[in-house]
Every structure is written in C-alpha cells, then in structure tokens.
C-alpha cells in the first residue's frame, strides 16, 4: 500500500484478436487514444489513465461503451467490466492476456458474429393494479370500504391495502417472464435471465444472438411487444458486446 503510484496506468476496455487488430479510432477515457497490448493471438484494448484513477462518472462510462461499440463493428470483442485499471502494459500482458490466453481465444471464437440484446419488460401500473383488484377479493373489498372516506380516518386500512397490493405484485412479478423468454430463446444462441430490478418489472433477460438472425429476433420482439401492448412495455437494448456471456474463469 505504501508503494508510490506511477503517473499513468492502463485502463482496459476489452479483448480482441491480435491478428489484424486495429484499435478503435475514437478516443477513450479523458480523450486518450486507444492502444493495443498483444500476446499471441489475443490483444487488449487499453488507454492511459492517471495512476490514481479512482473516480468515474457519466463521461467515463460513455467512453467505455463507445470504445467497445466501435470495436465490435469491425470484429469480435470480449468486453471488460467497467473500471479495470492495470498498472502498466506488462501487467496487462502478464496478468490478463498470458494466463487467460486459452480461455480468451476460445471465447473470441464462440462470440464471433454474435451480439447481446437485453429485453426488459415493465408492467403498466394501471393495468396491473386493475388485475390485482380483480383477482383478489380481499383487496377489492378493502378498497371499497375505504372509498370516499377521509384519509385520516382510514390510515391503517390504507396501509393494510397497500401491504396486500405489495404482496400481490410480489407474486405476479416475473410470472410473465417464462412465456416471453420461451418465445425468443429459439432465435438466440444463449440466454441469461436476470433478477427483476423494479417493483413492476416483468422480465429482465439477456440474449446472445447471431448477427445474421438479428432481424428474425427483432421481429419476434416486436410481435410480443404488440401483443402485450397496454399491459407490459418492452424495452430492447442492443446490439451490445456480449457482456453477460463472457468470463475469465480460472487463470493458469
């Protein structure tokens, strides 16, 4: 800990094939140019950052995604998680590329020609609340009982009502997910199902899709979106580098 920090360090964006690797022309974090550190058939995309690089915000996050996006246009890229900073090129070589060369090469092959698409769905508030009321007698009755009475007089009833609704939403959340995922999975190579991160989130899943089949995949998403209109709003994000489908595993 007492070792003095060097002036600059290497921020790592992702891993590409070294053969014919030309770094993205667009600048990286702090407008620094993107460089390449190669080892055998694999190479890391890096740029200089201050040695004590610690704080990051919107601009840095955007630079990270921009570099990866540009890289994936010309070739396959394995994205790093945001925030990986290594002291120097030697460390990038010795701690990332050399020990994981085989795993990286394998995944570059696996991910070639494929992109990640995330599909999130949020229940429309009004429609899901109506569903909850129509399906749950206790909620419907309590709601009727409170109707038209002054707020102060029904404080505890309203808390009870809200509690019942929260529980009902809990039960419903994610119930629509398998149906949506099953429809899309045949058009994808792989699927990762994430946790709902919102109280009305119906589905949160990442799909690994071959570029060649992206059109088909998109059409099905649109179909599902149209069918669910008014009940669940789908959100499509992509194409992205395959963040959810890469991992380093155990190094050598």
């Amino acid at each position: 800990m007492t070792v003095a920090q060097p002036e600059t360090a290497k921020y790592v964006y992702g891993v590409v094939r070294s053969e014919g690797a030309s770094p993205p022309k667009g600048a990286g974090i702090d407008d620094e140019p993107i460089g390449v550190v190669a080892h055998g058939s694999v190479a890391a995309l890096t740029s200089d950052v201050p040695g004590d690089f610690l704080e990051a915000g919107r601009q840095e996050l955007l630079a990270h995604t921009r570099v990866l996006e540009e890289a994936m246009e010309s070739s396959v890229v394995l994205p790093m998680r945001f925030g990986v900073v290594m002291p120097d090129e030697e460390t990038v070589h010795d701690r990332l590329l050399a020990p994981f060369a085989e795993a990286l090469e394998e995944q570059l092959q696996e991910m070639d020609g494929k992109v990640e698409v995330t599909i999130k769905g949020i229940h429309d508030e009004e429609s899901i609340l109506r569903e909850v009321i129509s399906e749950n007698r206790e909620i419907a009755e309590l709601k009727e009982a409170i109707q038209g009475k002054p707020e102060a007089a029904t404080y505890y009833e309203r808390i009870r009502l809200g509690e019942l609704i929260a529980a009902a939403l809990d039960d419903k959340r994610g119930a629509a997910a398998p149906g949506i995922i099953d429809r899309l999975a045949p058009f994808a190579v792989d699927v990762r199902v994430g946790e709902p991160v919102h109280e009305r989130m119906a589905v949160n899943a990442s799909f690994l899709v071959e570029r060649a089949r992206l059109g088909e995949f998109d059409r099905v998403v649109d179909q599902i979106g149209a069918e669910l209109a008014g009940r669940i709003q789908l959100k499509y994000t992509g194409p992205l580098p395959p963040h959810s489908f890469v991992e380093l595993g155990a190094g050598v």
């Binding site: 919107r58 996006e69 925030g83 809200g162 919102h198 149209a226 959100k235 499509y236």
Partner: protein, 161 residues
C-alpha cells in the same frame, strides 16, 4: 453514427422501446456488473453509485410504500374504466418504460444520476457534460463517503433478492 450495420431491422409496430449502448442508462447494469474482470484491478469508485442502488429497489416493506400503492389503487376510480384496453392507455406509457402517472423508481434513479434529460439527449454529448459538472460538485461529498468501489454492484444484487 454507425448504426446501419447494427440495426438491420427497425420494428414498425412502435410498441417496443429501443436503444443501443449510446443510451447509457440502459447499459449501466451490464457494464458495471457484467464482463471480464480481474477483481484486484478494479480501481474505480463511481460517482453516484449510491443512486444506482436505488435502481434495485423492489417492493420495500414500508408504510410509505403501502400508502403509495393504496393511493394508486384509489386513483384508478378517477379514470374512466371504459378506456381500459383502448389505445388511449398507450399514451400514458413513456419511452422509459415507466408510466408517466407515477414516477417509477427507474425514472427517479435516472433523473438523480443524469439530470432530467431524456435518452435522446444523451446522444448530444456536450450539453450533458455541463450538467454533469454542475451536479458533480454537489455529489462530491457523497462520492468520497462511498469510496468502496466494486462492492456497489454486489450490494445491489443482494438487496434486490
């Protein structure tokens, strides 16, 4: 904008909200939580990471949450039940996925982190940059307080489940 190759098919239905990685908010979860990583070399403390944790809030058992739900249900009566299922209902749905009637948690977190700009604005980089600077001075204290770096995302996950 190099989007021709990335978007071979642009859906015509209009029912699905779309964005690419230039819509930063939509990829935050991915770039902060997924991808290749060597833990000892993660050297970053994120400005606004404590706000990101709000993103993971599911239903939190609290009186405030319950009262909010009760209010939302009672409000349903003010709207005509006849419009249910009709296209008018769609007008209430915004690009961000949250209904405009409620400030959804996602929306709230988004505003807290990025200001009130929309995704469309994120493509224009200059303007948000100035917003960022303005707000960064106010978050400076919190930033320092939350110096634990990568733990943010794992906290987020455990809190969510």
């Amino acid at each position: 904008m190099a989007t021709a190759m990335q978007q071979p098919y642009r859906g015509g239905s209009g029912y699905v909200a779309r964005s690419s990685s230039s819509g930063l908010y939509d990829v935050l979860e991915l770039i902060l939580d997924k991808g290749l990583v060597i833990d000892v070399f993660v050297r970053v403390s994120l400005i606004g990471i404590e706000i990101l944790t709000i993103d993971a809030r599911i239903v939190i058992a609290s009186v405030d949450t319950y009262l909010r739900f009760a209010e939302a249900v009672n409000r349903l009566d003010l709207m005509s039940t006849e419009t249910q299922g009709l296209p008018e209902l769609m007008e209430g749905i915004t690009e961000g996925g949250a209904s405009k009637k409620t400030q959804g948690v996602l929306q709230g977190a988004k505003e807290a982190l990025f200001g009130d700009e929309d995704e469309e604005d994120e493509e224009k980089e200059e303007e948000p940059a100035t917003k960022r600077q303005r707000s960064s001075s106010t978050t400076a204290k919190r930033r320092r307080a939350s110096s634990s770096s990568s733990s943010g995302s794992s906290q987020r996950r455990s809190k969510g489940s």
